[in-house]
């Protein structure tokens, strides 16, 4: 991590730490803690996807499917087979990783955007299976009575406890990703993004790195799915369709493709948009998302996060001009 990252990390931890204290005191936004739990869960997905899109230069349209694999693995293993949730979670992640590896190896050997095509098809298949396979998944009516989480003997019931647990996990994941980016492997990934042929000639195993990042993104998505399951304690296949995969891609793009901070910012913004601000559009929500995607691609290719240095610059300019007076 460099100096900027350290400051940003410290600032973000502080912000997240004090948020519930403020939000719970203000009546109209007291439910924001609940929204922020979902934002944290989705941040895990967008972090992985950001590594894939921003650094390995590939797009996956199946993050919702991996999310679903994690969610249903946890749901089935705990409520039907009586597993401990903490055991079910890595099992779901491992299954997700295996599936991602099977898709990724052939798709990523090829140059170009074959991964986007392969994952698009795969995402649809997973959604159909979750909806039709009635015996285990409950089919279209889904699953209920999934147990919550316990840490030691202590059951996670309050929203605030969930909030801090999820965001602690997000920060661990963020730390992991930052370490990868500022290291040998991260340099290799950035090199692939800029000059793939030169990277390969300088000894970077480009295909292997892409597969690893894809598998990693699938693992994070599956973990997010497991947390989601145990938080809402019920499942239905609608949460894992293509629309959700597009939302995840949008989170990364709105936040800022080449920035892990942007991935979290994007997840928070879009979760609030989906749960709160865009409710008035109801059926036309998808149009709003399309417009958002278009605007970001055309006017703000660096995402929302690219506005922060600009804002700091303006602030400093104002400051210096005030001093001059």
């Amino acid at each position: 991590m460099n100096k900027n990252d350290r400051w940003a990390f410290a600032g973000m931890v502080l912000l997240i730490a004090v948020f519930p204290g403020i939000a719970l005191k203000v009546k109209p936004i007291s439910h924001y803690v609940d929204v922020m739990i979902f934002a944290g869960i989705f941040s895990l997905v967008s972090l992985g996807l950001c590594m894939l899109m921003g650094y390995a230069g590939q797009v996956s349209m199946a993050q919702a499917a991996f999310f679903g694999i994690g969610a249903y693995s946890s749901g089935i293993l705990t409520s039907r087979l009586g597993w401990n949730p903490w055991m079910a979670m890595p099992a779901g992640a491992a299954l997700s990783a295996l599936v991602a590896w099977i898709i990724g190896v052939p798709a990523l050997r090829l140059k170009g955007h074959y991964l986007a095509m392969a994952t698009l098809g795969f995402g649809v298949i997973v959604h159909i299976v979750l909806g039709e396979e009635v015996k285990w998944t409950g089919g279209p009516s889904g699953m209920v009575d999934i147990p919550g989480l316990k840490i030691g003997g202590w059951k996670l019931i309050s929203e605030v406890a969930w909030y801090y647990m999820i965001w602690a996990v997000v920060f661990l994941a963020l730390l992991f990703c930052l370490h990868v980016i500022h290291s040998r492997v991260g340099r290799g990934l950035r090199a692939i993004h800029e000059e793939e042929m030169a990277a390969e000639s300088m000894g970077v195993p480009t295909a292997r790195y892409k597969v690893q990042i894809f598998v990693f993104s699938a693992i994070l998505s599956a973990l997010a799915g497991s947390f989601y399951t145990h938080y809402v304690t019920c499942l239905n296949p609608g949460s894992f369709n293509l629309m959700w995969s597009i939302r995840f891609v949008l989170m990364v793009m709105v936040g800022g493709m080449q920035s892990l901070w942007g991935a979290i910012l994007g997840a928070v913004l879009l979760t609030f948009a989906g749960n709160e601000w865009l409710q008035v559009f109801s059926d036309y929500e998808i149009l709003v998302y399309g417009a958002m995607l278009l605007c970001v691609a055309l006017f703000l290719p660096g995402g929302m996060v690219s506005l922060i240095p600009k804002a700091i610059g303006i602030f400093q300019n104002v400051q210096t001009s005030l001093y001059k007076r």
């Binding site: 290291s183 492997v185 042929m197 300088m202």
Partner: protein, 261 residues
Amino acid sequence: MQEACFPDSPSILEMCDIQMHFGGLVALKGIRYTVPPGIIQALIGPNGAGKTTLFHCISGLIQPTFGHVLFEGRQINGMLPHRIARLGISRTFQHVALFKSMTVLENIMLGRHPRTRSGFWATGLRLPAMRREEREIRETARSHLDFVGLGDSANLPAGTLPLGKQKILEIARAMATDPRLLLLDEPAGGLNMRETEVLGELIQRIRACGVTVILVEHDMNLVMEIADRILVLHYGSQLASGTPMEIMDHPEVIEAYLGGG
């Protein structure tokens, strides 16, 4: 494993009847040549002679249609480029292929890739072995930067350097992989006389380090001055080979370069 086609001469690189076809176009029509270790081997020829294509075949970016390439007696055609880099062949590109938004130092640090091992999980968890390796990478990269005299540009984005320095940086990045064979594709292209002189000295220092150099170059003064041997390609075939003196007097070479066309 393929047989050596020059079993009796010491060689670092053997090209055995290499042909490269792009659809109906035959870019290389059977190159059969051996490069002894420790020399500067120049590869010259008019545009379209197949020089860069031959480099791509050696470094694994394309696969020859027929024939095979042996590096230190080992067949390397069919291997992926990053494996070939690990075996000890590195290269630069005709059109500078630096990682422009990365810093000068980071570009060279990337060159340490084939000599280091920390994987995805080790770097994410910042295991002690990985941190040690990261320090090592940084130090080695610094020494390579000093070797080519770019020490004071370490933290600039590579894309902001003037072309002359970018070409030197690309050589430093290639040297960071600890190659035993270095392929330079038109390193003097776009350089002025002063820069070309510095480049010539650098290439000779690289040879002094025990690295064999194959040089594709159009600047004949540079080639005649530093090359130990020259191979002339013409429309994908070998036209002539020998020492600079022999090549200068070779009637067919004079024909191809000066007359005939």
